[in-house]
């Protein structure tokens, strides 16, 4: 039925092999880029065929597994290389291949002239391969393969400019933090496999099998442990508190990478994983609560940091962290469909934003380069007034910004509002839901604020760079702009396939296609939750829903206004603000000193421990003991050799002594 699904990951793999092995020889950029993009295009096409075929099936049959070959078999453990096709994975492959293709196109233009061009596309294709493996894998282990694979690629791509120390560090940081997450993932997998096997004799790591047997699992208890482990993995991959700090640093990588990996696809893997294992998570209210709270906190916390950054990409990075927070909030609220929906829309507008910023940086860079100025092309304080110079970029960027800010009618609005509403109305976490909603709403306001701050600082006002450089600012070539247009369009209209029920009804009964589409995946869980939620679910009236919606919109608008007043109307406000609250500003600007905290609390102690264990313990004590024995013996030898005085009467004495002792002992014992 879906026999050719294995082609989807295969094409990028082939692309990777070609570029990786022969890219150096090929040299011709268009060919290399072409190969890379074409590989992804192919898998995009196949994905489309797949999803169409899936839609052609009746709802309950929309699930298929395609086994390629047996990977590991040992005793009662078995892992196949096999793919799982269901609505959820189909959404993901669509997003991944679709956005991925656009970004490949973009990269051809953006990476033009970079040394190691082939390397870039090889890595990019490898990433696509791993990502598709991750979303298509039908068992925990295969997912983990993709999981680590994307981590590797992000490591490689962040460190793409490896001669920059900062890049190398950022890459390492990303990989290690992901590893911390993987540690959780592995443990979760072990625990799940062992528990199901040992106490229910179900030895499996296949999602479908686990789902089938999930009724054997208790509520809470061991499942909480397992799910928390998995969630730890998710926080690592999706940059949630406490493991988010790698993502902003990851901006060291080329901008397309930030767009593809650190906005659209990889970082959402955590969300996908939870959605994929929803049947597991619903069995642990505790975990769900943790997920929701962490999500909300991250959303808010990252947003606050975003308000005070000047590096255009860093702002977007924190915004990404914050948006991911929303998704987790949705997951925690049991609104899986909504989360996935936001995942999709976010992929659209955030990719668009990143690529747009990339275009800006690109031309800024060239301009500064021509002017022989060494200002940072990414610092918004050097920008301004680009609206006129780069109209297309500006337009797309603005649309995406509106989308993320949650202005009604744009994709971001639908998805975000759905999440907030679900967080409010779903009662799994008792009265926590008000708090969750509140945090989400505030975060939305902050988002609107810092995003428009960014827009205003970048595109409005008059340019803040040397006039000489100013003349070199220009719109980017088509191959860069085209993806922007597409993504912008998507971020406008993308929302309409998943309109919240209430709006749909208001507009004359347009159903929430997206939710319906995902229903077979989540139905069971949603029912289960509605049954088991330990609080009487309150059914707020439409009025409340409309009200909350309006409120969130107002908050967003407020944010925009503030941004407008601060960065367009009267520009001295920000400086005055910082002057009044220097400490606060410094704290926010320095990301609440979290990195410093980690260095102080974890990194340095570990290094110190290593140093002590080596110099202090290994050499002195362990090895010291070994050599000590030897030295003692040698010293002893050095002493007793002098018993051999050379005087025979001493020898005779010794002999006589021996005789006496022996006789004495035996005769008088």
């Amino acid at each position: 039925m879906f026999d050719n699904v294995w082609l989807i990951p295969l094409f990028p793999l082939i692309g990777f092999l070609i570029n990786g092995l022969f890219g150096k020889k090929i040299k011709n950029e268009t060919v290399i880029g072409g190969i890379g993009a074409f590989a992804v295009l192919c898998s995009f096409v196949v994905s489309c065929m797949t999803i169409l075929r899936l839609l052609s099936l009746p709802i309950e049959e929309r699930l298929a597994e395609v086994k390629v070959f047996t990977w590991i078999t040992s005793g009662n453990f078995n892992a196949d290389i096999a793919f799982l096709v269901d609505p959820l994975s189909c959404v993901m492959i669509m997003v991944v291949t679709g956005v991925g293709f656009l970004i490949h196109l973009y990269s051809i233009g953006y990476m033009h002239g970079e040394e190691g061009f082939y390397r870039f596309f090889a890595y990019l294709n490898l990433f696509m391969f791993s990502m598709l493996l991750l979303v298509l894998g039908n068992n925990l282990l295969l997912m983990f393969v993709g999981w680590e694979g994307v981590g590797l690629c992000s490591y490689l791509l962040i460190g793409y400019y490896f001669h920059k120390k900062s890049a190398g560090d950022a890459g390492k940081k990303a990989f290690v933090m992901n590893r911390v997450g993987d540690f959780g993932f592995l443990l979760g997998g072990f625990a799940l496999f062992w528990y199901l096997g040992a106490s229910h004799n179900v030895w499996t790591i296949q999602f479908t099998e686990i789902a089938k047997n999930s009724h054997l699992l208790p509520t809470g208890g061991i499942v909480t442990v397992i799910t928390l482990c998995f969630f730890l993995g998710a926080t690592g991959k999706s940059a949630q508190i406490p493991l988010y700090t790698w993502l902003p640093d990851a901006m060291e990588g080329p901008t397309p990478v930030s767009a593809l990996i650190h906005a659209a696809t990889m970082v959402t893997a955590g969300v996908y994983m939870i959605a994929r294992m929803n049947f597991l998570f619903i069995r642990s209210p505790e975990t769900l609560m943790v997920v929701a709270v962490i999500g909300a906190c991250t959303a808010l916390f990252a947003a606050t940091i975003g308000t005070a950054q000047y590096d255009i990409k860093r702002v977007l990075a924190y915004s990404t962290v914050s948006q991911l927070g929303y998704m987790f909030l949705a997951m925690g609220a049991g609104a899986f469909a909504a989360g996935i929906f936001h995942l999709m829309t976010h992929a659209f507008f955030k990719a668009c934003l990143f690529l747009g910023s990339g275009a800006v940086i690109h031309s800024m860079h060239e301009a500064l380069h021509h002017a022989h100025s060494h200002d940072d092309p990414q610092d918004m304080r050097n920008m301004g007034g680009l609206k006129s110079k780069m109209p297309l970029t500006f337009m797309t960027f603005l649309l995406a910004t509106i989308a993320i800010a949650g202005i009604p009618g744009f994709s971001g609005f639908f998805s975000k509002d759905e999440i907030l509403w679900q967080a409010f109305s779903n009662q799994h976490h008792g009265s926590l839901n008000y708090l969750l909603w509140g945090m989400g709403a505030i975060a939305a306001g902050l988002t609107a604020f810092y995003m428009f701050r960014l827009v205003f600082m970048t595109f409005y006002g008059e340019s803040r760079i040397t006039p000489k450089a100013k003349d070199h600012l220009h719109e980017s070539p088509m191959i860069i702009v085209f993806p922007l247009l597409v993504l912008a369009a998507l971020s406008v209209i993308g929302g309409y396939i998943g309109m919240p029920k209430i709006i749909g009804d208001a507009l004359g009964g347009i159903p929430n296609y997206f939710e319906h589409y995902l229903e077979p995946v989540f139905r069971y869980s949603e029912e289960y939750l509605s049954q088991h939620s330990q609080h009487t679910a309150l059914h707020p009236s439409h009025a409340v829903e409309w009200g909350l919606m309006g409120l969130s919109v107002l908050i967003a608008l407020a944010g925009i206004t503030v941004a407008f007043t601060m960065y367009v109307k009267n520009r001295e406000l920000p400086s005055r603000f910082t002057a009044t609250f220097p400490a606060l500003h410094r704290a926010v600007y320095n990301k609440w000193y979290i990195d410093e905290l980690y260095d102080f609390a974890i990194v340095n102690p570990v290094k110190a421990a290593g140093r002590f264990l080596w110099k202090g313990f290994d050499v002195v004590i362990v090895d010291g003991a070994v050599n000590g024995v030897a030295n003692i013996v040698m010293a002893f030898a050095g002493v007793i050799r002098y018993l051999q005085s050379g005087f025979i009467y001493n020898y005779a004495w010794t002999m006589a002594f021996g005789v006496v002792v022996i006789l004495g002992y035996y005769l008088f014992k």
Partner: protein
Amino acid sequence: MSYILSLTTFLPILGVLLLLLIPRESKSLLRSLALGVTIITFLVSLPIMTGFETNADFQFVENVPWIAAGPFVMRYYLGVDGISLWLVMLTTFIMPIAVLSTWTAVEEKVKEYMICLLLLETGMLGAFLALDLFLFYIFWEVMLIPMYFIIGIWGGKNKIYAAVKFFVYTMAGSVLMLVALIYLYFRGLEAGFTSFSLMQFYSLNLDPQTQTWLFLAFALVFCIKVPMFPLHTWLPDAHTEAPTAGSVILAAILLKMGTYGFVRFAVPIFPDAAYRFTPLIATLAVIGIIYAALVAMVQEDVKKLVAYSSVAHLGFVMLGIFAFNQQGITGGMLQMLNHGISTGALFLIVGFIYERRHTRLITDFGGLSKQMPVFAVIFMIVTLSSIGLPGTNGFVGEFLVLLGAFESELRWYTVIATSGVILSAVYMLWMFQRVMFGELDNPKNQTLKDLNPREIAIMLPLVIMIFFMGVYPNPVIEKMDPAVKKLVSQVKRSNPTAEAPSAMQGLPEGHPVVVAPAASSGNSVIPAGATNTDEAR
């Protein structure tokens, strides 16, 4: 009775005799001859793998009387089973690579060097193949001699200290094993057995007391060889001082002697004791994993870093073996092979840059990937496989080890051990970054040449193996599976409760254990763990 095992084992000796005839001046001839011999040995050993039938018994057995005097009967008794098969293959596979790696590294005393390498190969193969404990002990000791010379003659500036330490340390352990061996033999004599044959000792049911003492004697020497945590300090010295080929062989094969010793002798002969000492061993293994990782992290010498990393890796192996279940031991075995390949490759890589720069200090390098792209790629691949990234060999072994250990009673050890996965990433990537990334500022590095064809030829087979065993390990696993099952059953027989309680352990209080229908997972074999959980209920 086929003589292929003897042939494989003693071909290198023939090579030695050939080398003796060749004048020491004609170095290239000596080199190519040694290479030829090792390659032929590899080819000869291939039929062992292809002809090996997937079952639990020993195959290609050769069993002839050797010494018979007084109370003793020693036999020349060779055989291969799923456990030794891959180690033998690994040995014959690594040796040509090791020889090739010395092409330019060793300039003086080439003749002696090659002779030592070949003698070493015979020793190692013999030790893996011997099924007569006395014969095993002979090969075991014989291995020391050439390695001692390799370190001591062609080693670094501190070579003598390292060589003597290596020799005496190992010797001190193995002599105790000798006494245990003798004692064991006389116990066998009482039971009516009259040879050192392994099979007989397997069927010897010793009282716990005796088992404890004998196990300790065996475990000590094997722990030294592995090396387990407090007994590991000879390794960094030996590794850092040894010439490249020496380090490669030491890491790839010699260290496996220790773990192999556990799998083949210490555990199945003294199952009760092995079972009783599991907590101790597991603790040491876990300490080793974390400890070695932390120490490796702060090393300044690349080679020392790799040396400590092997301590950590072998900690995983030990953990897997002492999980006493299918996954654990299979994983342990795989991890042995993987460590052989990956760490061997790492030492080769260190050798490459050492040959070029005559330093191994991390701080002397930086930004090499600019200068040596091919090297960078290979180095990266090897590093990742040593980290245990999925898709490379390192992952499969490590994963199975941890899975198996988690299923067994060593759950909490596993949790700690798994964090070693993080640390390994930390120290390896940090090292890689400091060596390969960053500015190419050191002028000495700006003239470095990328790998030459010979060096690529050395690395290629290893890289291929890295991916093959990562992507399609099943053929390997299948061949060793029956032997591993047998081993598991040997331990279980004497400890029926070996795994059962673990299944119950750590369940939430008061949670009713549902008796589920037969395993619904797609594989045919009856899972050992599952049957045991049934027994327990």
